[in-house]
């Protein structure tokens, strides 16, 4: 994630994310303007998540340039600071007066989950089952995760703003109303714009049956925004793959390029399984932050995550392929 809202954050000299102040004072939580938040999962050949890895187990590259990590977190656990020598130390909540976005000092704990629920006419049948599946998903989220529920048909509606109170989110979900055209990519763009304003790790989960008949923006333009903002997109489509090839192709590409996943789940049971898989993904992911090392490339920067101790290349890292710096408008 590239944070370019300079005016919103207290600037830290030297770009340190966290800095413990002198003894007797609580450390101040600071964010530099161009910090990158990168989330990824590590799986083995059987697609099992590999947990318990440490910062020293990874090397992160941008365009082949090694990056120095600032923080490291696994699943919903609190992040730790990564020191110069590679050791880690816990972060302490700090006072962040006048720094919107950091009024929650625990902003980097857990994931900010934006659920985008299709309430258009296409979703009319199965609407309530979909609500049940989403409600179950929200109930099962880690306590540290924040969740927002947005719905869309021709227009977007913020049914529940981002909150740690998962019950509030479910309440908002249950108040959603069905009907009208499907402007999926318009809705997704607006959700990404909201998500981009929040610090920390962010994912958008799109629950839709795929066909879009009203959007003004193209899927790949929206995907580019997600890439640049470092927001992973997970899609759950209630359509079977062969029913709507265009949407299937779009969903696959979108998920792949942003570090998310695409699911096709026509039945309620499949939807529940898809949500369960996403929750697993979130709970078993690693999140690192870093300030990009000097790089003349102002275009697309390719990200690579390498495992230091995997000589047999048994493990696979799943993350977004890269981003374009400084394009947030």
């Amino acid at each position: 994630m590239i944070i370019t809202r300079r005016e919103l954050f207290g600037l830290a000299a030297g770009g340190a994310l966290l800095r413990a102040q002198d003894s007797g004072q609580r450390p101040v939580f600071r964010v530099k303007v161009d910090m990158v938040v990168l989330a990824f999962t590590v799986t083995d050949n059987r697609n099992h998540y590999i947990n318990g890895l440490k910062p020293s187990d990874f090397k992160i590259y941008e365009d082949g340039i090694l990056q120095k990590l600032n923080t490291f977190a696994e699943g919903g656990k609190p992040p730790v600071g990564v020191l110069q020598d590679g050791r880690v130390q816990p972060l302490v909540e700090g006072k962040t007066e006048g720094a919107p976005g950091l009024d929650r000092p625990d902003a980097f704990v857990g994931t900010n989950v934006f659920i985008l629920f299709d309430t258009s006419n296409f979703m009319y049948h199965g609407f309530v089952y979909a609500e049940d599946a989403i409600a179950d998903f929200v109930r099962g989220l880690d306590r540290a995760d924040s969740v927002a529920v947005y719905t869309f048909s021709r227009n977007l509606s913020r049914a529940a703003n981002l909150t740690r109170d998962h019950n509030d989110a479910i309440s908002g979900l249950r108040k959603s109303v069905a009907g009208d055209d499907t402007a999926l990519y318009n809705g997704l763009l607006l959700t990404l714009r909201d998500a981009a304003k929040v610090p920390g790790r962010k994912v958008v989960i799109v629950f839709s049956n795929g066909p879009d008949n009203a959007s003004m923006v193209a899927p790949d333009d929206v995907r580019a925004v997600a890439e640049d903002e470092g927001i992973s997109i997970y899609t759950i489509s209630t359509n079977e793959v062969n029913k709507d090839q265009i949407s299937s192709s779009v969903f696959k590409r979108m998920a792949q390029r942003t570090g998310g996943k695409a699911y096709w789940a026509r039945t309620w049971q499949k939807q529940v399984e898809a949500f369960e898989d996403i929750r697993e993904d979130l709970g078993n992911s690693y999140t690192v932050t870093y300030y990009p090392a000097p790089n003349p490339n102002e275009g697309f920067r390719k990200i690579a995550v390498e495992l230091v101790n995997d000589p047999g290349r048994k493990y696979r890292v799943h993350t977004r392929p890269g981003y374009r710096p400084g394009r947030t408008l």
Binding site: R139, A183, D212, S215, A218
Partner: protein
């Protein structure tokens, strides 16, 4: 920071000494309202017993609608009573009474009027607060908000409004044709309403006599009953594991969609706490009582009042009759009901619904357009005398399937000399005969929308010449010839024959009326209206030959004609030159060159329009520049010509703008353009202006637009290369770098995939050409060869087109501009040609490709004629409705955005802003005074009746009679308040009201600023469809209904309240006029997002949202002002 600075100045002034009334007025006139307020306050504080100081302060606050004016008047009154100044005390007490009445404080009003009586010896009466006689009611089960959700009615709808809203929704959305149109079947919408009512009745039964659903605990027996009704079941045993999940999809859908608190129920079950839910029914008034609607048979039996709603919505014709009756005031409705049988009226319900809104019975007589003079003619046409009001309208409804009723409606909506002309008995009969024709069916009320749109436009926009005859553009011969020998075929065989014998403007008018009944495109009327509108503001009407050419070219170039209305100084020759140029461009062979030539020419003309409208380009230069641009583009043969002509056009345009209009510190064209587009501003508006500059630049950056400076410098450099100078690598690299940033449209699929599955797939030839452009290689290849270097210059022509086009896009960019920020090739994707086989170059702008993932996003196609509207249309669905159920109102919202973007307020003066504010406040004051002054009430209602429908005028009258001025004001739109104040102040002087006196003083002191034309220009709205012009103006029309072919668009154009309201708000909050340029688009966005409309004519929802946003802005601003004053006080006296 600025606020603190202002406040600091304010405190310095406070310390500096007394300001006399003239100085106060000067401060107001220069926009220093806050300073004036502080000075007056200081006077009051230093001389608390001084009547003049108290008066000046209280009246000042009153003039700016400051809520503390009430207290200031009370202080003044106390002082006047002490000094036994009874006469002035009486005036003040009356004003206090009006303010209390507007605040809805009846008890205070009673005391105020008692004080008034004591001081003046005269009595003012406020009617009893008892409500008018109500209709019998019928119950709706369950919470009203749940029913409203299911019936697609706004949640804040009052019980009295529920059934008309429901009837309307059933009429428009409740039924659809089936079996080849022979039968009607319920839509999913109506099925859901029925399902909801069924579920609600089950829940009502569960709620029992207490009308409350009470589930004491998770184990309670009725918990399972409730869940069964709702369609849910418990997963997991009682306790923290309980989760509610769907078991019956249909029931569960209705439960959640109606907003039943499922989550609260789940929480209660999980925590084993009692769940309580109020389930009382709501009694909603039924017009004439339920018995009337349930029919004779049911009347004889026991009436099933409980099932009334189900019965009503089961019959669309009955719903339509209900809807029609709800548009009438009570006296009129009663007269009609008593005359016609239920069955007969139901048969003509469609006519009543569409054309009954202007029916009016007073004292038993029909109030007909033209009054007594035309009463005989109406009696002849209808077959019943207007003296028998009910019978007259009953016959009118039944006549000719609605043609006469539609004429009645059109004539009743207008006023002034045109109406007088049209209702003259002979004219009326003649034009009715034309509109009626021989075959009357299908009538104009049969389709989904009123199909008499053209007639309404004709009667509304017709003009009379000085001789009292209808204005016919050009000459009668032009129209005879057009009808007889139209190049694209005859409009109507009979009319074409008759045209040869036309001798009078009425002959043309009769033909136009006759064509209004045709369902096909009515081109002659469109031509007539467009050219009438063109003539409207011209010092000299268009010559007959010009009109003839314009009429014959209408099909090809008609959408461009509003351009000619931008400047009143445009000569006939220039207009004809434009047409010649359009012809010449249309003949350019290569499609790429044709598209680029059209794009560049139209972009430059678009910029000319902007500068003329902003009054940046002086009137005396407008014609010269327009003519110059048009002439030069008629000779394009290749890309080099195009680049050179485009560049010359830029030079011509910028060169004609006098120094002083721009604050740009450089002569570089890019900065110059951005500066001019942002708008010239006095120092007070620099902050607003800078904000607009930033917005423009962000859009140009997002679109990767190449600066004009770079293009022109490179062109110059190419010239120097031909003279043997060295290559400027840095310059070439700069341009090349920018070109490399141009991306191809990011389509989701490959070209092959798109071709395989899509019809009409478009190529990105223009963008691909730019991407492939390797300027450096081209330059190197050209060497010093002058001819080849010239060709290189031509390669930049497409880039020049994009830059000039981007200026237009950026200028009209709606708030948010998500498309422009997200799709980096949106501007470049503009398609000036259209799909293969079509020719859209001079057609109105259209939005294409939306909702089609393979198309790389939506884009615009056609000319730039409707660019502001189409950009707003493209952007509207990115706005986020504030209400869960609401959607953005297509057709209306683009016009509202356009009205907030096209007018600019850089040249508006504080006095003009104050003028509008004073009028709206005076209008409110008049309504309040009318509550206790029957004479004034008559005058006020007469003025209001010029714009409001009879039912609303009557509603306001009843509220005023009941002393409910607060609700009466709520029913009057800002544009009606403005007209009301204008009407009353022009009739007589009001010395007693400080607001009225100030209006008179301003009119006397600043006639140039506050004359009607200037105010209309400053605070009017553009009406491209209704008036064929983008020039902002106030037309003072009744709000139009939806019309066939236009949906809500003309209604939106006739809605003039927004800008007037915003202006009054800005005046109230002491904002500089220049700030309107930033605030109005923002406020309009909020307005649009807060509209919760339930149908396409729901302008009251717009009004409600307008006031909601205004109140929010007002309260935030006042809170900020208090904080600023505290801060300023602290800065001044930190140690106090």
């Amino acid at each position: 920071m600025k606020a603190v600075a202002v406040s600091a100045v304010l405190f310095v002034r406070i310390l500096s000494g007394y300001q006399n009334p003239e100085q106060i007025r000067q401060m107001e006139a220069s926009g220093e309202t806050e300073e004036a307020r502080a000075a007056l306050l200081r006077e009051v504080q230093s001389r608390p017993s001084d009547v003049e100081a108290l008066t000046a302060y209280a009246e000042f606050l009153d003039r700016y609608a400051d809520p503390s004016s009430r207290q200031a008047y009370a202080t003044l009154l106390a002082r006047l009573e002490q000094s036994a100044d009874l006469a002035r005390g009486a005036v003040v007490s009356r004003r206090i009474a009006a303010l209390d009445l507007l605040a809805g404080d009846r008890a205070a009003v009673t005391r105020d009027l008692e004080t008034y009586r004591n001081l003046s010896g005269r009595t003012l009466e406020l009617a009893s607060s008892s409500t008018a006689e109500n209709w019998p009611t019928a119950p709706i089960p369950g919470p009203l908000r749940s029913f409203a959700r299911m019936a697609a009615i706004p949640g804040d709808t009052t019980p009295a409004e529920i059934l008309p809203a429901l009837a309307r929704n059933v009429v428009t959305n409740g039924y659809q044709a089936s079996r080849g149109g022979e039968e009607l079947e319920q839509t999913e919408y109506l099925k859901l309403v029925h399902r909801y009512l069924s579920q609600a009745r089950e829940l009502e039964q569960l709620a029992g006599d207490k009308k409350t659903i009470e589930i004491p605990s998770c184990e309670a027996s009725n918990a399972a009953d409730l869940l069964r009704i709702l369609g849910f079941r418990m997963r997991g045993g009682c306790g923290s594991d309980v989760v509610l999940e769907t078991v019956n999809e249909r029931r569960a859908f209705v439960a959640t969609d109606s907003g039943f608190p499922i989550n609260e129920l789940e929480q209660a079950l999980r925590t084993n706490r009692p769940f309580t839910y109020d389930y009382r029914p709501t009694a909603v008034p039924v017009l004439f009582g339920p018995a009337y609607w349930l029919g004779t048979k049911e009347k004889e039996k026991n009436l099933d009042i409980a099932g009334f709603v189900e019965s009503l919505i089961s019959d669309p014709s009955t719903c339509r009759l209900y809807l029609g009756f709800s548009k009438l005031d009570r006296e009129t409705a009663d007269s009609l009901r008593k005359t016609g049988s239920f069955t007969r009226l139901r048969a003509y319900a469609h006519v009543l619904d569409f054309f009954g809104g202007m029916f009016e019975v007073r004292g038993g007589k029909a109030v007909v357009p033209g009054g007594q003079r035309s009463a005989g003619a109406w009696a002849d046409l209808v077959g019943a005398s207007p003296d028998q009001g009910g019978a007259f309208f009953d016959r009118l409804l039944a006549k000719d399937d609605g043609w006469l009723a539609s004429l009645y409606d059109a004539l009743a909506r207008i006023r002034g000399p045109v109406r007088d002309y049209l209702v003259e008995p002979a004219h009326m009969k003649r034009f009715y005969s034309a509109i009626r024709g021989r075959v009357t069916s299908p009538g104009p009320a049969r389709p989904v929308f009123r199909s008499n749109a053209d007639m309404m436009l004709l009667t509304t926009r017709l003009r009379l010449d000085a001789d009292g005859k209808p204005h016919v553009p050009g000459s009668l011969d032009v129209w005879k010839s057009l009808f007889a020998n139209h190049p694209q075929g005859k409009y109507d065989v009979k009319l074409s024959k008759a045209a040869n014998s036309w001798k009078d403007p009425d002959d043309v008018l009769e033909a136009l009326f006759a064509l209004c009944r045709k369902t096909v495109e009515n081109e002659p009327l469109k031509i007539f209206m467009a050219l009438t509108d063109l003539d409207r503001n011209r010092p000299k009407p268009l010559a007959a030959s010009t009109v003839d050419r314009l009429a014959r070219s209408f099909r090809a170039y008609g959408s461009q004609y509003p351009i000619f209305s931008e400047s009143r100084d445009l000569s006939d020759a220039s207009i004809l030159q434009f047409l010649d140029t359009a012809d010449a461009i249309a003949k350019i062979g290569p499609a790429d060159l044709r598209a680029d030539a059209a794009g560049t020419f139209q972009s430059l003309i678009g910029l000319w329009q902007i500068f003329v409208r902003q009054q940046t380009l002086p009137g005396n230069q407008a014609d010269v520049v327009f003519s110059g641009l048009s002439t030069s583009f008629a000779r394009i043969r290749n890309d080099v010509d195009l680049f050179d002509t485009g560049r010359a056009g830029v030079k011509l345009l910028l060169g004609a703008i006098p120094p002083g209009q721009s604050t740009a510190g450089t002569s570089e064209p890019q900065e110059h353009f951005i500066d001019l587009l942002a708008g010239a501003s006095a120092s007070a508006g620099l902050e607003a202006r800078d904000q607009l500059v930033q917005e423009l630049m962000r859009i140009l950056e997002a679109q990767r637009i190449i600066s004009l400076d770079t293009l022109f410098q490179l062109a110059d450099h190419l010239e120097s290369l031909s003279r043997g100078e060295k290559l400027n690598t840095a310059l070439v690299n700069r341009l090349s770098g920018r070109i490399s940033e141009i991306q191809l449209p990011r389509a989701a699929l490959s070209d092959t995939e798109k071709n395989a599955i899509s019809v009409g797939y478009w190529t990105e030839k223009h963008i691909e050409g730019e991407r492939k452009l390797n300027l450096r290689a081209a330059i190197e290849k050209a060497g010093n060869d002058t001819a080849k270097l010239k060709e290189v210059r031509g390669l930049m022509a497409p880039l020049l087109r994009d830059t000039l086009l981007a200026y237009n896009y950026a200028y009209y960019a709606p708030p948010g501009s998500q498309v422009l920020y997200t799709n980096p090739v949106f501007v470049r994707s503009h398609d000036f040609i259209g799909l293969q086989g079509s020719n859209r170059t001079w057609r109105p702008t259209e939005m294409v490709g939306s909702g089609w993932p393979t198309s790389a996003g939506g884009r615009l196609m056609g000319s730039l004629a409707a660019l502001p509207y189409t950009l707003a249309e493209a952007e509207q669905n990115f706005l986020i409705p504030a209400q869960t159920q609401a959607l953005i109102w297509g057709d209306l919202v683009p016009q509202m955005i356009l009205s907030a973007k096209i007018p600019r307020w850089w040249k508006v003066t504080p006095s003009q802003l104050h003028w509008v504010g004073l009028h709206l406040r005076y209008g409110r004051g008049l309504l309040a005074e009318a509550a206790f002054d029957p004479v004034l009430r008559g005058e006020v209602l007469e003025a209001l009746g010029q714009l409001a429908a009879p039912v609303r005028t009557k509603d306001v009258e009843q509220l005023l009679e009941l002393g409910d001025a607060q609700n009466a004001v709520e029913r009057v739109t800002p544009s009606e308040l403005f007209l009301l104040a204008r009407e009353v102040t022009t009739r007589h002087r009001d010395e007693t009201s400080p607001v009225g006196s100030e209006i008179q003083r301003l009119a006397q002191d600043s006639p140039q600023e506050v004359n009607y034309e200037a105010i209309s220009r400053a605070f009017g709205t553009p009406k491209p469809t209704l008036a064929n012009s983008y020039e902002p103006e106030l037309l003072n029309l009744r709000t139009f209904p939806t019309l066939m072919g236009y949906s809500s668009r003309i209604m939106a154009e006739s809605w003039e309240s927004n800008t007037l309201y915003w202006a009054a708000l800005a005046d109230e909050l002491a904002l500089a006029p220049a700030e309107l340029n930033v605030r109005i688009p923002q406020w309009t966005q909020q307005l649009v997002e807060h509209i919760f409309a339930s149908h396409l004519e729901d302008w009251p929802a717009v009004l409600k949202s307008l006031r909601l946003v205004g109140d929010d802005v007002r309260s935030k601003s006042r809170a900020a002002r208090v904080t600023d004053l505290k801060t300023a006080a602290f800065l001044d006296f930190p140690n106090r």
